[in-house]
């Protein structure tokens, strides 16, 4: 059978194997994105607005996150979670939690780095003006960050795109176990090796569609956010 026709058949029939890996990918990468955003945006904001002694090495460290090789992240998390590693007693290796952890390590610094650059790029006048209108420090920070919402949304979208399409780290720490840690990217690698191109193409198509849908959703959210009142 033609692999494209097979892929179409799998998508049209709602194949359970394909649905399983898609849902697991969404669960793992979605969870990782929530944690990475919760860590990355406050971290980037705090570093951008603070002046402390070790700021320069901290900024350099965060920026290094932009170019973290996924396999190195996978290897590091593997060592941490392996039986002889410091987190070995938790028995997390080859589990979805290990994959979430690896993806947080990949996306967190990325979101933090983009946040840092964006917040730092806002003229200091913005904060000064907010304070001049009686804003508390917290309110001034919110108004400051509000100016870079579009960049933050782009950072989150790019972070999601990076982790949902990443294969090296999740393969190392997840092990690609059927029904447990098999996700879209590892499925594509495995099924291509096996010669099951139809499955690989079907999953690949969903991966592309998902990346597009998530970016579209975040862009729409951003546009709506722009119309939100300044102070709610």
């Amino acid at each position: 059978m033609n692999p494209f026709a097979e892929a179409w058949e799998l998508l049209w029939s709602g194949d359970l194997y394909v649905a399983d890996v898609v849902l697991r990918s969404l669960y793992i990468s979605g969870s990782a994105l929530v944690f990475a955003t919760a860590i990355g945006i406050p971290l980037g904001t705090v570093v951008a607005l603070s002046r402390f002694r070790l700021r320069t090495p901290v900024v350099a460290l965060i920026n290094t996150g932009l170019a973290l090789p996924p396999v190195v992240v996978g290897l590091t998390v593997y060592i941490l979670l392996s039986r002889s590693g410091p987190l070995g007693p938790l028995s997390l290796l080859y589990s979805p939690v290990a994959m979430i952890l690896a993806q947080v390590v990949l996306a967190g610094p990325y979101i933090a780095a983009v946040t840092l650059a964006a917040v730092q790029g806002v003229p200091p006048d913005v904060r000064l003006q907010a304070r001049g209108l009686g804003a508390s420090r917290w309110q001034a920070t919110r108004l400051h960050v509000r100016e870079v919402r579009a960049s933050l949304v782009a950072a989150i979208a790019a972070g999601f795109g990076a982790i949902i399409s990443e294969v090296g780290a999740v393969m190392i720490v997840g092990g690609n176990i059927l029904g447990q840690t098999r996700v879209m990217t590892t499925t594509i690698v495995l099924e291509t090796r096996r010669g099951n191109f139809g499955v690989a193409i079907a999953v690949g198509f969903i991966l592309l569609a998902l990346a597009f849908a998530v970016n579209l959703l975040l862009t729409l959210l951003n546009a709506r956010g722009m119309r939100r009142p300044l102070v709610s």
Partner: protein
């Protein structure tokens, strides 16, 4: 008048450099105080320190005689600041006008009403629903000032509010600023490098140079009794006259500049070389020598150049030294001023200020 805001021994250091060193400065109830000085003199730093938006390296600011610790919160609640490059947040003008009130937790209905009132008072009602991205520089500044006024602050801080505007916009904004600043016994702390603005708007002017206050007084005090050549220059004086003191009595100096004798206000010992400040508008030009008057402060001069300066003419003269006078077009026609023309020039002793070299 009671002092609402007092700065004492304010020092701001930036690395090795001292950028502000002000021993005492007070803003009085209901007055407009203008801090006047060239770019980089420390005006904006002084405003931020007085508005408690920047902590000084040392010194204290007190709001309504409260201890410094509680002054910051009270001042934040009772003041509003507008900066040279005001920032308007993305959104409508109305949202921006409501911003300060919303930050202070004012009820929605009240913020709408206050924003509408401020817009009306500052002539921007027609812009209320406009998006901030399409506004001109003048409109942006008007919105920023109206946004501060919506808070009905006891103290309004204005940092070079007209510096980035075209001259016609500047003039109309200046007039509106005076009107709103005078309303409701509000105190206004203004910085500017434009002496016309400072002298037009302010009840008192504090001249700053190199981070230090050189003189604080009413515009008339500064104009009539400049403390030093810098103040004289700030008030528009020229310094082309230099001479030697022949004698001194009762705060007046008799000075010889070439063949001409001048009497000027100042303090210097006999024989001392001085430079004499005068303002071009204080030189009186005549066709004929006025008979019977003292020969002091009068001299014959030749017109070198007549140049239009808006509605006035700037006349370059060759007298005891090269000098400049400003005359109206009517006066110029009456005197028949043109290059080469001989005229008699006269100036009052009180309009000349001598400073030792």
């Amino acid at each position: 008048m009671a002092e609402v805001l007092v700065g004492e021994a304010l020092v701001v250091d930036s690395g090795e450099r001292r950028i502000l060193d002000v021993r005492h400065l007070a803003l009085r109830e209901g007055e407009i105080l203008a801090v006047l000085g060239p770019n980089g003199a420390g005006k904006s730093t002084l405003l931020r320190v007085m508005a408690m938006l920047q902590r000084p390296s040392s010194g204290v600011v007190r709001f309504r005689e409260q201890p410094p610790t509680s002054s910051a919160a009270s001042l934040r609640a009772g003041s509003a600041a507008v900066f040279q490059r005001p920032h308007l947040w993305a959104g409508s003008v109305r949202e921006n006008l409501e911003l300060g009130l919303r930050l202070r937790g004012t009820a929605r209905d009240d913020t709408r009403e206050a924003a509408g009132r401020a817009a009306e008072r500052f002539g921007i009602s027609h812009l209320l629903e406009a998006h901030t991205t399409g506004l001109s520089a003048g409109e942006v500044q008007r919105v920023a000032i109206a946004r501060a006024l919506a808070l009905d602050p006891q103290i309004l801080f204005l940092d070079e509010p007209t510096a980035n505007l075209d001259s016609d916009v500047r003039v109309s904004l200046r007039e509106d600023l005076e009107r709103v600043a005078r309303a409701g016994h509000r105190s206004t702390f203004l910085t500017t490098h434009d002496r016309a603005e400072a002298f037009f708007l302010a009840d008192r002017v504090a001249v700053i140079s190199g981070g230090r206050l050189v003189q604080v007084g009413t515009p008339a005090e500064l104009y009539e009794n400049p403390a030093d050549p810098f103040i004289a220059a700030v008030t528009g004086a020229e310094f082309s006259l230099r001479g030697v003191v022949e004698s001194a009595e009762d705060g007046l100096l008799h000075i010889r500049v070439g063949e001409v004798g001048f009497t000027a206000v100042g303090t210097a010992s006999t024989g001392r070389e001085v430079k004499v400040a005068y303002r071009p508008e204080d030189l009186l030009l005549a066709r004929e020598e006025t008979p019977g008057t003292s020969p002091r402060n009068r001299f014959r001069a030749r017109v070198l150049e007549v140049r239009a300066m808006g509605s006035l003419l700037r006349v370059r003269l060759e007298g005891p030294s090269e000098m400049v006078a400003v005359v109206t077009r009517a006066a110029s026609e009456e005197l028949g001023l043109h290059p080469g023309r001989k005229v008699f020039v006269q100036i009052k002793a009180s309009a000349l200020h001598a400073f030792p070299l």
